[in-house]
Symmetry: C2
Subunit: 388 residues, 2 copies
């Protein structure tokens, strides 16, 4: 096991109707003038935004609204938000939405307390201070409600990049599974894929003897596999939605990643896909993850066999562990198909002839990506080809 | 799943040599004058206390030492600590030791900022403010390094009671598995039993559909079962000690308890045992937990069958689930024996004729204890008898 720090200070407020407490939570964390950040019209139409504003008013909290966050959130709105916060003396960011809204709010929160261009944080500078961010989550997927990171796409070149730092962890996150009842099946499945990928990026590691973390990864994956068909069959199954929602948070607050080297090559390859085609991140991951697995499996067959046996319940083939390892990848692909995910380029609208562009956009040069196997540009090209 | 709050703000600093950073961490959390609280001579002899003091001096942090915490920590030293803190203007508590030292430090931290008798918090008053507490853990067991609770025995009547509140969660906890190499086999096994019991108190619940939490509980138990024989066979097996240490923290920061009713009857029955005989808490739990299980198994046979199959790898007897359920309890008892724990009264030095006293000391009256099954005085007596 490697040395590590683990810090997840977010106050998680989970359950039915909890969004009505939002004003009390902002008070508790010292917010007095709030930017309420959200996406499209669904937060308005559903009445959620009205309930939020009622709670703020009840608690005498001043606020300004900034809607319009898009999936794969863009830099333009971040710049606008930073300007508003500086001008209006905002001291608290409230994100009402999914990962895109939360990531946009985090970028604004960091940028407001920074003299330079907020994009510096997305080019490798660590975020050391930011306005406090609270969230009301409406989509179980990205895990940004408990994570220390944020992903933004810069409109200048459509570069999709991430920033990180403890200051980006939300001070509180309100998770009401009922708010996800209206998420359509395809987005629900994209979210499920994203959270599973967050666990797997941490699971496939060269670090030995991290049994506690391994078992937590496997347990969370198994819970997702059990609950996913339930939410797709019955979108208002409260308990199933609740398990999926909490799994999404646990998948990405790094409790599944402590004490070990993590990979993240698949996320980087996917970022190029969703950058170029503006497809859903989860769908891109569904295409790229099995391809990555097939390419790297021989690096550690027993690790993949463990994944197959412990996560998917495959029988171990003790004479031919590679058969078990392969079976785990097949089961994962079958699961993705069963929840309606694409697993090949064409289903995603991606094209084989764009592979050189995708590889080029990664700007790898002579560097490598990933840690389980350090992938060169040539490796990345082959993995994209496996996904065609 | 039930509504819940989950809040674990402790900064966990895990790994080799990390205790040498303690001064930096106290600085980060605003401590300037520290009470260094510890137990017996082992922290001195091992050189740990010297390393701690060197780090404090290097960071220009003033400190006063207060040693002498005993297992099942007592109120007397808490009163002494509170007086020192008030007199000297202490603004930070550093606990160097195991759960007893940390619990004692938490009591002092709460009592220092309170006008009344600190014992009020151990009689049901919630702790709302306390001096910040940092810990350097030397024993993997109680989980106090990440928990919101503290257990103290009042010398007036030898009452063992617990206090709780978010303000009691340590601001940081330094976990270096090397510091546990010297823990003797019996105490190591007591710690393992304690952490397993912390998971099981949360696992046996009447709340339905908490699959994520179930799987995390099962995963942590399985990891402990795998790692326990390793630390006992080779006390300086770093990775095994590391897994056991982290499991102990995860077992009790409540990540295993969210969204569900918890039980805790066995802990309360054990507190009377260790109160009367001053035996190790873990040893008392090893005697009481299987007895409690045998008594309540029929309340939910399928829950116990799940425990047997998922945690212990038993084969499910689909025609007779009760056989599987019983097998799980047997496997747990066999495991306890294998790590050198007592499983009956006599092995603990407890006596059947004291059962009426044990029952009386619980002060249940017409109340019940536990939630999986609400136990009356009569039930409690029968469970003690099953443990004879």
């Amino acid at each position: 096991m490697e040395n590590f720090n683990f810090y997840s200070p977010t106050y998680f407020v989970f359950g039915k109707g909890r969004e009505n407490e939002v004003g009390e939570w902002i008070n508790r964390f010292g917010g007095s003038k709030v930017l309420v950040h959200y996406g499209g019209s669904s937060a308005v139409k559903s009445g959620l935004l009205d309930r939020v504003k009622a709670s703020l008013k009840k608690n005498n909290i001043a606020f300004i609204e900034l809607g319009g966050v898009k999936p794969n959130p863009r830099s333009g709105l971040v710049y606008e938000g930073i300007e508003i916060c500086k001008r209006e003396g905002i001291d608290f960011l409230l994100a009402v939405g999914g990962g895109s809204v939360i990531d946009s709010a985090k970028a604004i929160a960091a940028g407001t307390l920074y003299e330079g261009d907020f994009w510096d944080f997305y080019c490798g500078k660590e975020v050391e201070k930011a306005l406090p961010v609270g969230t009301i989550l409406t989509l179980a997927a990205a895990g940004s409600e408990g994570s220390d990171s944020s992903v933004i796409t810069h409109e200048n070149g459509m570069l999709k990049r991430s920033a990180a730092g403890d200051a980006l962890r939300p001070v509180f996150s309100i998770l009401n599974p009922e708010l996800t009842f209206s998420v359509p099946p395809y987005q629900t499945a994209c979210g499920i894929t994203d959270m599973m990928a967050h666990v797997m990026e941490r699971y496939f590691t060269n670090t030995r003897e991290v049994e506690v973390t391994d078992r937590m990864c496997e347990g969370i994956l198994k819970a997702i596999i059990t609950e996913a068909p339930k939410v797709l069959a019955k979108p208002d199954d409260y308990d199933a939605r609740a398990n999926i929602m909490w799994a999404g948070t646990m998948a990405h607050n790094d409790i599944c990643g402590v004490g070990r080297e993590q990979d993240w090559a698949t996320h980087k390859m996917e970022h190029e896909l969703s950058g170029l085609y503006d497809v859903a991140h989860g769908a891109g991951l569904a295409v790229m993850f099995p391809a990555w697995m097939k390419y790297v499996m021989s690096h550690d067959v027993m690790r993949f066999a463990q994944f197959a046996v412990r996560v998917w319940g495959c029988e171990m083939d003790f004479q031919h562990p590679e058969n078990t390892a392969k079976q785990g990848i097949e089961r994962w692909e079958q699961f993705l198909v069963s929840i309606g995910m694409p697993i090949r380029f064409a289903q995603l609208g991606a094209k084989a002839e764009d592979i050189p562009t995708l590889v080029k956009n990664m700007q790898l040069g002579n560097q490598t990506v990933g840690s389980f196997v350090k992938l060169t540009e040539e490796d990345v090209r082959k993995i994209y080809e496996l996904a065609v």
